[in-house]
Symmetry: C2
Subunit: 294 residues, 2 copies
């Protein structure tokens, strides 16, 4: 089924716009959880912890976003953990937005597409429904990811980090910034992929830390899904979250990673604290969306 | 030892400016080589083939550039092959320029740096001397890779693919293109990292397919190593290769992947054909460099 349609359907079913980010910061995985494993069993700890996280949060989440860097940092053991986590996400029928920010020339982008989306009968090594990509190389590096309507991409437009403006806010001769120019390209790439939901398979990443950019970028890409990192831990604002949604109260996916995975209450109530953090985040976002109508 | 100094020393020792790209295109690995393996033994075929390639080319190459996408596409089996190839490169004392084009916010870039460079006593999962990076996110995403003078990065400035101009050639209000602006940032990031060789640890990627850009970008970054893909298979020109070098006949690294890994003569002379392809590529590049002085 068409990626964006499936994702919008999931928003309705769950009454949720929350994406749970799976960023296994080793030092923040509770010591009480690690105790059941050998000290160097990175694969066991990470896949075990995230499997429990998925079990207690999947009813509140539209999708999960594994950040590959936090798996790659453990080498093969980390990649084995990622494969286990992806298998569990599949068992739970969860959507996977892989956060890899991959980018390369056409023939190499095609290899990344095979890695995450598979090709024909060849299953993906790291099966995902969508992938974040960096479009600095232009459309050659984008098209290999759009071979099947069942998969989507989220293109970096305006990132959440403090230095994102160094290049992204620079203005071209036309008066448009690099981020706005990227948004215009996203709109163009997205158009032929729009499904029955009214949304297409080429989305954008826009950080919640830049509320002043969100509304204009949303208008530039009315039919794109916007993946919004940086709300919560990175200091992103409710105003930015509100501006990311369309009038229909849909079209944006708000990611929370650290805020859900590592709540202070874990030491008292264990994974129940993670369930509550996900439930609270979902309701918090829904309240912000409801404010649109006031 | 300081990354750029080590690399320049290697250029002198080998009288070479050649980087051998390790891109295991499955369909191009000779059938005669695959015959010795089980049909789905991706790890065995890839690591076996590339181990032989390294053995016959390392005397001609300054460094090797594994392209991660071509390993990731085989999932865990591919990543296992990458680990084996990296271990063999270490045994052969080869420098590794990992082509991952990684990019992310600071805390995540730090996780990528751990994956490829290690941290303190923690060894890297995929040990590399340098990594290609995409700097769309600005300096936050660059600095985590510059924590040790023993490692370097190559920042995408002007890529070799046909659509690279879509964003990279756009001109800002100042008159400078995005690629030129990126080059100016590379110069700035590079300055505090310059070693005894006169070169620093922040290099640039500039495709040989755009000879008209090369000379100006070389002047903008006189103390940066330039990694040049696209010569040969992608149609890059000798003129671009020439312009990538400084007056000292150093400072550029010319990558060849398909041209060396998959010579037509393999079916006749086997790995000897690969040895000859590397030797010829090295000499071809040295001839172009010598032309500078005429």
């Amino acid at each position: 089924m068409h990626f964006a349609d499936r994702l919008i359907q999931r928003c309705h079913e769950r009454n949720s716009r929350l994406v749970v980010g799976l960023d296994p910061h080793w030092d923040r995985i509770p010591a009480s959880f690690k105790r059941g494993f050998a000290p160097d069993d990175y694969c066991g700890v990470i896949s075990g912890f995230l499997t429990h996280v998925i079990d207690v949060t999947h009813e509140h989440a539209v999708a999960f976003k594994p950040q590959i860097a936090f798996f790659e940092q453990f080498g093969l053991a980390g990649m084995e953990a990622l494969v286990k986590v992806l298998a569990h996400l599949r068992v739970r029928h969860c959507l996977v937005l892989m956060d890899g920010k991959r980018n390369d020339i056409g023939s190499t982008a095609a290899a990344y597409a095979r890695a995450f989306f598979g090709q024909g009968d060849q299953p993906a090594g790291f099966p995902s429904d969508a992938l974040t990509v960096n479009a600095y190389l232009g459309s050659d590096g984008i098209k290999p990811f759009l071979q099947s309507p069942n998969h989507g991409i989220f293109v970096l437009v305006k990132t959440s980090n403090p230095s994102s403006g160094e290049f992204q806010d620079m203005k071209f001769g036309s008066g448009a910034s690099l981020a706005q120019t990227m948004a215009a390209a996203v709109r163009q790439w997205n158009e032929p992929t729009i499904g029955e939901s009214g949304y297409g398979n080429v989305g954008a990443v826009i950080g919640a830390t830049y509320p002043e950019h969100m509304a204009a970028l949303r208008r530039e890409m009315p039919c794109s899904l916007i993946l919004v990192p940086g709300y919560g831990a990175q200091g992103g604002s409710a105003q930015a979250v509100k501006a990311a949604f369309n009038e229909d109260g849909l079209g944006a996916l708000i990611n929370s990673s650290r805020g859900i995975l590592f709540p202070a209450e874990f030491e008292k109530t264990g994974f129940e604290a993670i369930r509550e953090a996900a439930c609270d985040a979902r309701e918090d976002i829904n309240r912000i969306v409801a404010l649109r109508d006031l």
